[in-house]
């Protein structure tokens, strides 16, 4: 199957060109940093409440907050990795000419795009297993605490990274590597700022400001999906108040419809990449 040959090739490329190595070593460096910081917070802080049930509740709030903070950083690293590994994929092969000996074989161009997409999707899955798994494990070992709904939350962060990766592949099927990078980080920045705008709107009860945020989430649903993930993984006590304790302090929680939208969005982008690459002169 040509599609799996391309997937394997994509994996090999990430390994040989040391892109994966760079990303994974950075990831491990982060986990070490996180573990040290977390340990120091738990064991060297005099202000940490202890003793009664009330204090235990507060402690679990703090652990929840710190865990989500870790995942927030993980999410950043994952997005950067998704965009960086995929930006050069089609654009780079077209400009260097390596694509010519590939697509003149009896393969469909769609198989080339989907094979690459699948390769990156697997790479991101591996990366997230390491990073989210590592974060959860550190918190569990050091503090004996586990985030609620962590599997579902991790899945949502995976969806978020797939959205960024699909956007990157789609841009790469149409534009140069550099333009792809510019567009992806530009849109991501827009969604990021939009997320803040939405929170501020919700805090001051201004619906039109909230709507501006929602529109930015529709343009690129990454930030919204993460906020949904953070909400799901927030302690039930805080959740019942209608916001999450994540570093974003989520007041306006995106609905699960936004997650459905994000999944739909990433497949539309994949379809767009297949279509554009299929009709392009190489």
């Amino acid at each position: 199957m040509a599609i799996f040959t391309i997937t394997r090739l994509t994996f090999l490329e990430a390994a040989r060109r040391r892109i994966a190595l760079a990303a994974f070593s950075l990831g491990i460096a982060f986990l070490i940093l996180y573990a040290v910081a977390f340990y120091l917070v738990i064991h060297n802080s005099s202000g940490l409440p202890a003793g009664n049930i009330q204090a235990d509740l507060l402690r679990s709030q703090i652990f929840n907050f710190l865990s989500l903070m870790g995942l927030y950083a993980v999410q950043f690293l994952t997005i950067a990795m998704a965009a960086l590994v995929a930006a050069d994929t089609l654009a780079g092969e077209i400009s260097s000419g390596t694509i010519q000996s590939i697509v003149t074989k009896p393969v469909r161009r769609a198989e080339v795009v989907m094979g690459k997409w699948l390769g990156y999707a697997l790479l991101l899955a591996l990366y997230l297993v390491l990073m989210i798994g590592g974060t959860i494990l550190i918190v569990r070992i050091v503090a004996g605490y586990t985030l609620p709904n962590v599997a579902l939350g991790a899945l949502l962060i995976y969806v978020e990274s797939l959205v960024i990766m699909s956007l990157t592949v789609a841009c790469s099927s149409m534009f140069s590597t550099l333009a792809t990078g510019g567009i992806v980080f530009g849109l991501w920045g827009l969604a990021f700022i939009g997320g803040f705008v939405e929170q501020i709107g919700a805090l001051v009860h201004n619906d039109s400001v909230v709507n501006v945020g929602i529109i930015s989430s529709l343009i690129l649903p990454t930030e919204a999906v993460f906020r949904r993930a953070a909400f799901i993984m927030t302690s039930p006590v805080v959740q019942s108040l209608g916001f999450s304790s994540g570093p974003l302090f989520v007041v306006s929680v995106p609905s699960s419809a936004m997650v459905v939208y994000a999944v739909f969005y990433l497949f539309v982008l994949l379809g767009l990449a297949v279509r554009q690459f299929g009709r392009r002169d190489l």
């Binding site: 090739l9 000996s101 003149t104 009896p106």
Partner: protein, 305 residues
């Protein structure tokens, strides 16, 4: 009758306002070694890209091994060495052939066998585990050639196959082409090295501004009146005068004589005549109108600009 290996009818490609190929019509029968000649920018590479489905024609049509251009199944029987031979250089030679064989849909055993054969053929067996990144230009060309022959294709496109090669490598390519011809493989050769084309091709097409200016059989191309240079000792004046019966425009100059004969078929007789007159012949060289002269005659010295 078998269909032509390649056939095109008024193929045209425009990139915006720029017309790369204006109307290419040609037919290459199966088993032929076909040379595709023309100045830089004449649209040779764009044409090959249209044949292989890399570029969609703006207008016109064509067929490849009996299937319409761009047909996926037909490409299983086609080999292609792209210009500049840019490949994934982080693969080893072995992995490179493995991946490309898989893309051809070749079975495991057949692929393993072909891989060994071809590495041996292009002389890269000792380097099979080395990354392509470490290869010289000539080695890349060799591995690219091996890649183009993996599937034992019925039709091979070679876009400038000898441009980076030293004389040994060029001879290798020539031998490979000869071997392909003997197996009945059609070879479509795009080359600037006219001496190569002269030796290897059955027919050539000259293209200029994306149009075929002339298609000729190489044999007829170089036949006709030939100027001959003769290096000899013991040429008596009467023998020299007698040369007039073999040709015209006889000129003698310090042991070197040149004359124009009707064709190459006159040479054996000329030689016998000289020997019978006790002349020591050191060389008898026909100065054929070279393909290069012809190229310039047909395409013009402006290089098609």
């Amino acid at each position: 009758m078998a269909p032509n290996a390649l056939e095109t009818n008024s193929l045209r490609k425009e990139f915006g306002d720029n017309v790369a190929v204006s109307g290419l019509t040609l037919a290459v029968p199966q088993g032929e070694v076909f040379g595709f000649l023309g100045p830089n920018g004449a649209g040779k590479t764009t044409s090959i890209k249209m044949f292989l489905g890399l570029v969609t024609p703006t207008a016109g049509s064509g067929s490849l091994l009996g299937a319409p251009l761009g047909d996926r199944a037909a490409r299983a029987k086609v080999g292609f060495l792209p210009e500049h031979f840019r490949f994934h250089d982080w693969l080893s030679a072995d992995e490179f052939l493995q991946v490309h064989g898989e893309l051809y849909g070749m079975g495991r055993d057949r692929l393993a066998k072909r891989r060994d054969e071809l590495l041996e053929l292009v002389g890269l067996t000792p380097f099979r585990r080395k990354a392509l990144r470490t290869f010289s230009k000539g080695m890349l060309q060799r591995i690219g050639l091996a890649q183009a022959l993996l599937n034992e294709p019925a039709l091979v496109f070679l876009d400038e196959p000898t441009s980076g090669l030293d004389p040994v490598g060029r001879r290798l390519v020539r031998d490979i082409i000869r071997d392909l011809r003997s197996k009945g493989t059609t070879v479509f050769l795009n080359s600037h090295l006219l001496s190569e084309v002269e030796i290897t091709c059955d027919r050539v097409a000259f293209i200029k501004h994306g149009e075929v200016v002339r298609i000729s059989e190489l044999k007829t191309l170089v036949e006709g009146e030939t100027r001959v240079t003769l290096r000899a000792r013991g040429l008596a004046p009467d023998v020299l005068a007698g040369l007039g019966q073999w040709g015209h425009d006889v000129r003698a100059d310090d042991g070197l004589v040149t004359l124009t004969v009707a064709g190459e078929s006159a040479l054996p007789g000329l030689n016998r005549y000289l020997v019978s007159k006790d002349v020591d012949v050191y060389a008898l060289t026909p100065q054929k109108l070279s393909l290069e002269d012809l190229f310039i005659q047909i395409v013009g010295t402006d290089g098609g600009l």
